[in-house]
Symmetry: C2
Subunit: 224 residues, 2 copies
Amino acid sequence: MRIGILGSGLMGGKLGTIFARSGHEVIFSYSRSEQKLKKLAKDAHGNARAGTPREAVQEADTLLLAVHWSRIDDVLDRAGVSASAEASADGLSAKVVITCSLPMNDDNTELVVAHTSSGAEELAMMIPKANVVSAFNTVPSEVLFGVYESRNKARRPALIYCGDNEIAKSVAAELIRDAGFDPVDAGPLRIARYTEPFALLVAQLAYEGKSGPELAYRFEHLKG
Amino acid sequence: MRIGILGSGLMGGKLGTIFARSGHEVIFSYSRSEQKLKKLAKDAHGNARAGTPREAVQEADTLLLAVHWSRIDDVLDRAGVSASAEASADGLSAKVVITCSLPMNDDNTELVVAHTSSGAEELAMMIPKANVVSAFNTVPSEVLFGVYESRNKARRPALIYCGDNEIAKSVAAELIRDAGFDPVDAGPLRIARYTEPFALLVAQLAYEGKSGPELAYRFEHLKG
């Protein structure tokens, strides 16, 4: 799979690294410095390189959107796929866009979209030709390498995903599996109205709890 | 502990039964039929009896509120503790009120309070002298007996709770432990803005998923 990373911060940097180590071809893009993108690509020790958002979108079939909510417009614009961009939004036609961007305010203290919509649904309206899946936003970045390194253990932690396109969802599920998690299909994209607040619950436990931020979760069936 | 159950439906009936079997004294109240309350009390095989909401509030120090959101006003009124009731709302002074009522619409399809508030916070404003804890609403009723019966196993499922009063929270944590779960403190009552949508995520997985409704969850720390 050729995967374009839009937003190579904590989340995008680590997930891109993990995808590259899993054998995928990765293009890191959209960081404060070109230098950082090159370092990420080098340190990934896999088939990874630095690029622009435009290259990431043009060359990859699957994109990971991992920017702060306030940067969504800018990254889509630089990628040439925003409604206002000169190029047509057709650039994302039928592409899989996996978003882990939570719709947070600038202080990262609360959701700016919730209840009657979700960040994932808002994004899907901005890029209607893309197949949006919400995933990788319900665990802290601090747990990612630990989960990846434990991927051969019997009991994997879960990772929730949701979306409206089944092919895109199967792509997301494959990447979730590659990252060492057990993919849990939560249904259509509108379920992001529940998964995004759940992400904030996990963040609360991870960053305000006593045991540190390396937190994952799992679901379990018990017979009554 | 003497526990008054306000709302003896699926959730209240099962939790009251579990609390009675754990050695607590339980008063079941507020069901469609007096007969059902008596049967619940008899089948609990513990120190349990049927009563009115007013008796439950007067005689118990800890109350479990387990009614549909549309019945909150009515049950508080019958218990004599609503703002509009003839008796004073002082009847709940310093009592622990554990709520598992989610603020659902009449069709049970969506939350009517979310994002900028939560059912638990709205309830706390209705009964300001009580110490409200939100708990037992993030797992389906179908899993309760299974978890209780597995309570001596090494790895218990988690149960999230939140509230603003530490003493009330320790009471809730004790009951969560009695029910076979590992209590997970999610912080102040406002975190119910995240736990209530999480409850709907769990319900989605339980009722729309393939593995049946006996679903529980667990959090896990991994070193990176």
